[in-house]
């Protein structure tokens, strides 16, 4: 069950590991890099506040060098970019996801690998 405490603990842990060797990850400097106040970040980490907006979570993930989707899931949120993808082809994408959710992880990995890369 995702919750604010798990999310807060996770980013605190990741930041702690890095801040011990790099002052860029101190509460104040990291908050400034994310674009939020140190108080807000601190209280999210403490579990006093709910996780921030998805875009902020993606920024936190990028700065901490961790996977954004996992961090979003921990916060009980999904990437707005994914929602957009579903909205564009609602029926087909929903069918695709429903079908994919029944496949084993090993097979899913293989399918993802075999799919052609997105053409822009």
């Amino acid at each position: 069950m995702p919750g604010k405490r798990e999310f807060g603990n996770k980013i605190r842990k990741l930041r702690d590991a890095k801040k011990a060797i790099d002052p860029k990850f101190s509460l104040r400097q990291f908050a400034l890099a994310v674009g939020i106040s140190a108080t807000y970040l601190s209280r999210i980490e403490n579990g006093d506040f709910d996780p921030p907006a998805p875009e902020t979570i993606k920024k936190i993930a990028a700065l901490l060098g961790t996977d954004a989707d996992e961090l979003l899931a921990l916060a009980g949120k999904t990437d707005p970019a994914l929602q957009k993808i579903i909205m564009e082809k609602p029926k087909m994408m929903a069918d695709f996801l429903r079908k994919a959710s029944g496949i084993s992880e090993k097979d899913l990995k293989k399918i993802i690998k075999d799919l052609p890369d997105k053409k822009d």
Binding site: A20, I21, L27, A38, T39, S42, E45
Partner: protein, 228 residues
Amino acid sequence: MEVKYIHDFKIETAAFKLLGEYSQKFGEVTKPPIPVEEIVDSHLKLDYGFDDLPSSLEIPDVLGATWVQLKKIRIDQSLDPTVYPAKIGRYRFTVAHELGHWQLHKSQILENSNSLFETEQKPAIVCRKISAKKPIEKQADIFAGFLLMPKQMVQNKWKEIVGSLEPYVAVDEISDLSARWGLAEDNQPTVQIAKQLAKIFNVSGQAMQIRLINLGLILTKQPERGLF
């Protein structure tokens, strides 16, 4: 809590030792400002952050709190410099003050209070915004001054700006400022040189002036004849 008397000289040594330990691990701190947050984060590895302390502790006017068993320091959000950039000096002084408690009082508290039981709502040390300070708070303030403004560094910067270690007789400037702003006798205005050095050490003008007076670099009374 009643603490043992600690001579200023010992407090200065404790601050110097802390900075030395940090320097050994992360490289010499050769010039101001002193990296207090890095000392908390990298050297002491304490659980550090901001909180709305008056609400969470249900005590008014709390600026900082230290949990000795839980190895945790919290600063009140009213001092968050990412929200209130002008408070940076006050904020850094509060962090250094809590570090003072950590270095000077932690073992005393752990030894003397067999029954000490800390909870999230009950830290061992709570620091409030009050004028009449207990000895434990005064000691932490003195420590903060020594840590943020080490003697040698202050003297070096003074020499760079003034040209020598000649003290500055601030009597006229203080009375001018007081007359202009109508300050009471006991409420001392900050003189220019203290403001200038405060920027370099990233502390408040007031803290810098107190330190310069204590180091004998600013004189607030006319020196007696024949003294120099």
